[in-house]
Amino acid sequence: MVLDPKMKQAVIRRTVRKFAEDKLVPAAAEMDEKAEFPARLAEEMAALQYFGLEIPAAYAGAGLDSVSYAIVIEEISKASGAMGLCISVHNSVSAFPVYEFGKESQRQAFLIPMAKGEKIGTFCLTEPNAGSDASSIETTAVRDGDGYILNGSKIFVTNGGVSGLNLIFAITNPSEKGREYSVFVVESEREGLEKGAQEDLMGMRGNPVCPIVLNDCRVPRGNLLGDEGQGMRIALATLEGGRIGIGSQALGIAQACLEASVKYAQERYQFGKRIADFGAIQGFLADMATRIEAARLLIFRASSLRDRKMPHSRESAMAKLFASETAVDAARIGLQIHGGYGYSKAYPIERYYRDAKVCEIYEGTSEVQRIVIARSLMNK
C-alpha cells in the first residue's frame, strides 16, 4: 500500500504540475468560455506522452504505474477539468482496453497511434435509452461476410468531436436468453459514422462531447476488439480503471477548490480582518482538506491494488464515489467562502463548481457506485 508517494511519483507530480501551470492554467477559462478544445495544447501533451500514460514503451506509451497515472490525472484536472477528462477517458477507457483486449495486430494498428496522441479515443457505451442500465443498449452489429454492419446512436461521447478511434459497444446476439455485446474499434473517418454537434453542457465545456450515430457502418472483422460476446467483460474491466481516472479527476478539481479558497480567504478582509481568521472559514477549509486527503488515499489504495494486479472493483468504486462527492462538496463550500465574487466569472471557483458535478454522474453515477460497493459486501 502506497501511502507516501515514492521518489519517482513526487517528481512526476511536480513535472505535470509545472506543465499544467505553464500551459493549462492560462488556457482553462477560455476553453470553458468558448467551449473549445485546445488542439495545439493537446499536440504538446501528446509529445510529452500524456496520451499513453499506462501503455508500455513498446507501444509508444510512457509505461507509468497506476499510482503515477492517478497523480497525472489529478494534476491535469486541477488546472483544467475538461483536459483532465480528455486524458482520463482516452487513457483509461479507450487506450487501456485496446491494449488489454486487443490482438497484436490491433495494438499495432490502433494502440500505437492512440498512445502517440495521433488518434484520440472514445468509449461509446451510453445511448439515449441506456445510461446506468448499460445492458439495455440498442446499437446492433450484424455479421456481413468478413465484417459487421453497425447501426445505432451513442450519446454524450467524451472526446467525440476530436476523436480518431471510437470504441463502440453493440449487440452481436440479440436473442432474449443469450443476449451478448461486443466492442468494435471504429475509425472516425469510416463511412456510416457521423458525429453530431457538440453538446451544450453545464461544465467540462472544453471537452468536445457529442453524439455519434452509426448508419449502416461496415467494419472489417479485424476491428472487433477481443472476441465476439466479450463486450460486457471488457466494459466491466475497463470501468474499474476508469473509476480511478474519474476519481483522480474529481480529486484534482477538489484540490483546485481548496487552493483557491485558501488563497481567497487570506486576501479577503471583512470586519477589519482576513476572513481566514474567522473560525467558520477555518472549519470549512479544514474539513475540505481532510476529505480531500481521504479521497487521495482511497485513490492511491485502489491504484496500488491495480498495480499489483489485485481485485480493485470495490476500492475503485469507493474512490470514485468519495472523490466525486468530495469535489462537489469542495466546490460548494469553496464558492461559499468566495461569497458574491465566487458567483461571478471573475474567479475560477464557479467553473470548478460546474465541472465537479458531472463526476458524480459519468462512468457510473454515485448511486451505481453504491450498488457496486454494497454487492461486494454481500457476495462474500
Partner: protein, 268 residues
C-alpha cells in the same frame, strides 16, 4: 563536447524551515527540487549537446535523497549521473563543497570541456561554489552568463553586470555559471521520467573514491561557520493614503503611470 552540470537539490522555497540549534535548513520531510538556475544550466548543456554532440554528466553532492534530482536530470536528457555522498561530507561550507566536487571532476576521464553551474542556489544564495570550483580546477570562468555560443573552438558568452553587457571569448576547458533568462527548461516526457527512475545509472562516489582526507571535507574542511541564522525583520515602506474611492483610484493610477507599469493611454 563533454559537459559536466553541477546541480543541487534545494527545498522548495515556500516550505523552508530553520533548525536554530544547528544553524541549518531543515531538509527532512520537505519537498525538494533541482535548484532553478541549475535547471537552466542543464538545459544549456542539452542545447549544446544537440548542436555539438558529446556527453552530459550531472553531478551533485548531498544525502541519498539527492538521487531524485539526478534521476530527474537523466530524464531531461543527461547521459550520466554521479552522486557525491558520504557521511564525512556533511556540514560542508561552500569551500569544502567545492573541494569535493573539484576532486570528482578531476577524476573524470576525459576531463570535461565545459562545466556548467547555476549562478547561485535559492536556499543559501552565496554564489560561491561555481567560482571556487573554477579556482580549485584552475579553469577560466565567467559567472552569470545569459548567452552561450560556440565559435571556432572557443565559447562566446554574454554576461550582464552593473547594467552593462559584457561579451567574453573563453577557451576550453572552462567553467560558466548561468543566470536567469539564458533559456526556459523543457518539459520532460513522462516516459523518460519512468525510465530514468526504473533503470540504474546513478554512480555513487564517497570519500575513499575521491582520495580525500576526512579533515579536508565536510564540517572539518570548512573555512566558515554560520554564527547566526535568522529571518530579518521585514521593513516595509508603506504609504497610507486616505480619501474617497475616486481619489484613491486616481492616486493609484498616477503611481502606476509614474512607475511605467501603466502607460498614460491605458490610464485614461
Amino acid at each position: 563536447m563533454n559537459i559536466v552540470v553541477c546541480i543541487k537539490q534545494v527545498p522548495d522555497t515556500p516550505n523552508i524551515r530553520i533548525d536554530r540549534e544547528r544553524m541549518t535548513i531543515i531538509r527532512d520531510g520537505v519537498e525538494s527540487i533541482i535548484n532553478p538556475l541549475d535547471h537552466i544550466a542543464l538545459e544549456a548543456a542539452l542545447d549544446l549537446k544537440q548542436k555539438e554532440g558529446g556527453k552530459i554528466s550531472v553531478l551533485t553532492m548531498g544525502p541519498s535523497q539527492s538521487e531524485e534530482a539526478l534521476r530527474e536530470a537523466i530524464a531531461a536528457g543527461a547521459d550520466e549521473a554521479i552522486l557525491l555522498t558520504d557521511p564525512g561530507f556533511a556540514g560542508a561550507d561552500t569551500l569544502a563543497t567545492s573541494k569535493v566536487i573539484a576532486s570528482a571532476i578531476s577524476r573524470m576521464d576525459p576531463f570535461p570541456d565545459l562545466i556548467l553551474c547555476g549562478k547561485q542556489t535559492i536556499d543559501s544564495d552565496t554564489g560561491h561554489v561555481g567560482p571556487q570550483l573554477a579556482e580549485e580546477l584552475n579553469l577560466p570562468q565567467v559567472c552569470g552568463v545569459t548567452e552561450i555560443h560556440v565559435e571556432m573552438n572557443a565559447l562566446v558568452v554574454k554576461q550582464l553586470s552593473d547594467g552593462f553587457q559584457n561579451t567574453y571569448r573563453v577557451s576550453f576547458p572552462a567553467l560558466l555559471t548561468v543566470s536567469q533568462g539564458l533559456n526556459v527548461p523543457r518539459h520532460i516526457p513522462l516516459g523518460d521520467l519512468e525510465k530514468a527512475f526504473s533503470e540504474g545509472g546513478v554512480l555513487r562516489w564517497g570519500l575513499k573514491d575521491l582520495n580525500l582526507r576526512a579533515e579536508e571535507v565536510g564540517f572539518s574542511g570548512s573555512a566558515t561557520t554560520v554564527v547566526r541564522l535568522y529571518r530579518p525583520p521585514q521593513k516595509r515602506k508603506g504609504e497610507i493614503v486616505s480619501g474617497s474611492s475616486q481619489t484613491l483610484a486616481e492616486h493609484l493610477i498616477g503611481k502606476l503611470v509614474s512607475l511605467s507599469i501603466l502607460d498614460e493611454d491605458e490610464a485614461e
